[in-house]
């Protein structure tokens, strides 16, 4: 039988699975052992099963008018326990620094006075909202949910590519991917201790409840969605369902006298925490875009009055701006007095004329990102751009240098991905999700691994031909497996004999009659 990995040629990047051709890394040994014995037809069958599971379950995102599944690759991305430990701590550290920064930006502004970040960088950023000034969250949390995008460089080091502190999405795929992988490819999980991901909704609802206004002991939490037409609607519905809360649209809410209520079949009912999946600009037509029909006028002042909590808070964009990104290592040192555990990708600000001139001269070797672009929009990857694109870029950057940052291209790590009946290396990234409940920042083990499906592509967005992989964090030892594989110690760990004693006998049903007798009767 031809080995499906025989033709695998690693690209010029860190390969997640192979240390050397044919030699899998330790954390991948079990996955490799399962996969190498499967033939292409079998793999194709599994891949089709996975795809139809997604469409059957309606796990899709809307691209234009079309409902598309987010393709899930058969090969999981595996992260060893020790490596995850660093990532988890690094993400937590980063989120804490971003929180402190936001509190400062919307509060006394010590970070400006101490000349760590120029005030103008924040003031000119699109994510900073003056209308959010003076809104003090009850438990101090603004970034209840964060998604920190990581990539792994050619030396195998994880680096932060981008912070997402506004409305990070994608966590539903993490949960769905795991569900579908365990259903269609249970064999892969044999002999593995993979940390579960289904804690997420529980953690999220706890964090949201913790954000409730002072004095509210049993807060009503809702998820606010723009509606069915939104590309992430599936995720909104999933989170609402798993948290057991209402999924509301703007028109279901009414805000009066700084109190927010929802229109229900038993009249108007109070709402205390709004986990909104609507951008700031659309949230409150009184303060932001007046043409928004999906928001709730008055909600911002309700939050200011401490009557409702908005999660994530309005104005978090002040911290996940691409220009602020370049300052995050400094922010970590400034607020936490720690060294960053995860480095940034090497990045240049263009505020210095010499640096700008240098960057303009070497655009073909750099990645240029617009400061306020989201979802991979406007990014130019120099080494892959044609002359015309570069010329246009040069003009744009020269005209508005503060609107751009330049990065050294990172050769994103590759992972074997099932493409056209064989495994081929494709570039991947990782978005871990962090939930902040005010006491602690919890990081979901793993996160969303996105794959750039076209060969050589480096942009991994779902809207640009991306897929995903189930992301496994291996448990370091049995006790850390969080009870997936083995029951947690304590109440459930009963000896077999005790189980037998605790269960009543069961009736098996009357014995079947002998067939010969029946035949006789029918004759």
């Amino acid at each position: 039988m031809a080995d499906v990995f025989d033709a695998y040629e690693p690209a010029a990047a860190w390969d997640e699975m192979f240390e050397a051709p044919g030699a899998p890394r330790r954390e991948y040994e079990a996955v490799f052992a399962t996969l190498e014995h499967l033939d292409p037809a079998e793999l194709r069958f599994r891949a089709d099963q996975v795809a139809s599971s997604f469409t059957d379950r309606g796990v899709t995102f809307a691209l234009g008018d079309e409902e598309r599944p987010f393709p899930l690759d058969l090969v999981p991305r595996v992260i060893a326990a020790a490596e995850w430990d660093v990532i988890g701590r690094g993400v937590r550290q980063r989120v804490k620094a971003l929180e402190a920064f936001l509190a400062d930006v919307y509060g006394r502004g010590a970070v400006f006075a101490d000349r760590v970040v120029p005030r103008s960088v924040v003031l000119t950023g699109g994510g900073f909202h003056r209308a959010a000034h003076g809104i003090v969250p009850q438990n101090g949390v603004r970034v209840h949910v964060a998604g920190i995008d990581l990539v792994r460089d050619v030396d195998g080091r994880f680096r932060v590519l981008e912070d997402n502190g506004r409305v990070p999405s994608g966590v539903s795929y993490v949960m769905e991917n795991r569900l579908i992988m365990t259903r269609t490819f249970p064999g892969l999980f044999a002999d593995q201790r993979v940390r579960p991901v289904d804690d997420y909704p529980g953690r999220l609802i706890a964090a949201l409840r913790a954000a409730a206004p002072a004095g509210v002991t049993d807060p009503v939490v809702v998820v606010l969605t723009p509606g069915v037409a939104n590309s992430a609607y599936f995720e909104h519905a999933l989170l609402a369902r798993l948290m057991g809360v209402e999924l509301v649209e703007g028109r279901d809410l009414i805000c009066s006298g700084n109190g927010v209520r929802m229109r229900t079949t038993s009249g108007e009912q109070p709402v205390h925490v709004v986990y909104r999946r609507i951008d700031d600009e659309f949230l409150d037509p009184l303060h932001f875009r007046p043409d928004s029909v999906i928001g709730c006028p008055g909600i911002l002042n309700a939050a200011r009055a401490g009557r409702v909590a908005i999660a994530n808070a309005v104005g978090c964009g002040a911290a996940d701006d691409k220009l602020i990104y370049t300052y995050v290592p400094d922010l970590i040192r400034y607020y936490l007095a720690e060294e960053p555990l995860l480095d940034n990708v090497e990045t240049y600000r263009l505020d210095d004329p010499d640096r700008l001139a240098h960057v303009l001269d070497s655009l073909a070797e750099l990645v240029l990102k617009p400061v306020d672009g989201a979802g991979g929009k406007g990014i130019v990857i120099g080494p892959q751009a044609d002359e015309r694109t570069l010329r246009r870029l040069r003009a744009q950057v020269a005209a508005a240098p503060r609107g751009w940052i330049a990065q050294r291209p990172v050769a994103l790590s590759t992972s074997p991905t099932f493409v056209a009946d064989r495994f081929a290396p494709r570039h991947i990234d990782l978005r871990p999700f962090a939930v902040n409940d005010g006491d602690d920042v919890w990081v979901l083990p793993g996160g969303l691994t996105r794959v750039a499906l076209p060969e050589g592509a480096l942009v991994v967005n779902s809207s640009q031909g991306g897929g995903s992989k189930d992301t496994w964090v291996l448990a370091s030892d049995p006790s850390a497996a969080d009870g997936v594989v083995e029951p947690a110690n304590g109440t459930f760990a009963l000896a077999p004999a005790a189980v037998r004693e605790g269960v009543a006998d069961r009736q098996a049903g009357p014995p079947a009659e002998a067939p010969s007798q029946q035949q006789q009767q029918q004759q």
Partner: protein
């Protein structure tokens, strides 16, 4: 005319806004910026807002330091009356101009970023590159205060004061192009030109008592007013509309990058598509 030495003015201001809808307005959300500030130059003694129909009001101080009154009305209503009354004591003379005004000092403060918002164009203070260039030529060789005076004179001689010639969304370039406008346009244009020549400038919204010679006890109809402040070692007031320095007749309500940051009344509602607005401001000099 010889001027008497003056004491502080005490002014009572009643700012009444009536919105009449063509039918029923079903829900409306509003923010008022009508409460005079407490600053080194003025003291707000009393301030209150009355509404008809009545509604619960709530106050907060916004990013710019302006006192904001917010309220909403859920019951259908065909008219809304807002009566903002305040008593303010203003100091007789403007603060002296800072003598330590020089370009390096301004440049240094700008570089630090503290005045960042007041150095770059905002929505309503946009002018084209030609006009910016003309402003720089016109003020070449001036010190900051001289530049401000020059720009004030220039704006004053260029724009004709024509009520109704412009609207709330008119920007500085547009009023320049049509050579006319009201106090808000005079201020936006002057701010735009000041920023263009490197002087940080901010918009001031407030009231102006119309009669400079009014004695205590005199009542007069007036209006809301707008002027500006520029930074040259310290903030200095400048009324481009009247080509004067704001004095005891000027009552400050709020400051911002332009009109958009200090709207006296911001509101949205749904229901009747048309509305008419009547605004009156009545001043009484109490002392």
């Amino acid at each position: 005319m010889p001027r008497r030495p003056e004491g502080p003015w005490r002014l009572a201001i009643v700012h009444e806004t009536v919105v009449e809808y063509s039918g029923a307005a079903r829900a409306s959300y509003n923010e008022l910026r009508m409460t005079p500030l407490n600053t080194s130059g003025q003291t707000t003694l009393t301030s209150q807002v009355e509404l008809r129909p009545a509604a619960a009001m709530w106050q907060y101080t916004d990013y710019w330091g302006t006192r904001v009154t917010s309220f909403d009305l859920q019951e259908p209503h065909s008219a809304l009356t807002i009566r903002a009354a305040s008593t303010v004591e203003t100091s007789p003379a403007p603060r002296p101009r800072s003598a330590r005004a020089d370009w390096p000092r301004i440049a240094e403060r700008i570089a630090v970023g503290d005045l960042g918002e007041f150095t770059v164009p905002s929505e309503r203070t946009r002018v084209d590159a030609d006009l910016e260039c003309a402003a720089r030529e016109r003020t070449a060789g001036c010190g900051p205060h001289e530049a401000a005076d020059e720009i004030s004179a220039w704006v004053h001689e260029t724009l004709a004061y024509v009520p109704g010639a412009t609207g709330v969304h008119t920007n500085a370039q547009e009023s320049w192009d049509q050579r006319s406008g009201v106090c808000q346009d005079f201020s936006h244009l002057a701010i735009a030109l000041l920023r263009a020549v490197g002087v940080p400038a901010r918009y001031v919204s407030g009231y102006l008592f119309p009669d400079p010679d009014a004695q205590p006890g005199v009542t007069a109809e007036g209006q809301s007013h707008a002027w500006l402040e520029y930074w040259a070692g310290g903030w200095t007031g400048l009324d481009a509309t009247n080509r004067s320095t704001p004095g005891p007749r000027h009552v400050v309500v709020g400051r911002g990058r332009d009109y958009g940051d200090v709207l006296p009344h911001k509101g949205i509602y749904h229901g009747a598509p048309d509305s008419t607005l009547t605004v009156s401001v009545r001043f009484t000099r109490l002392a």
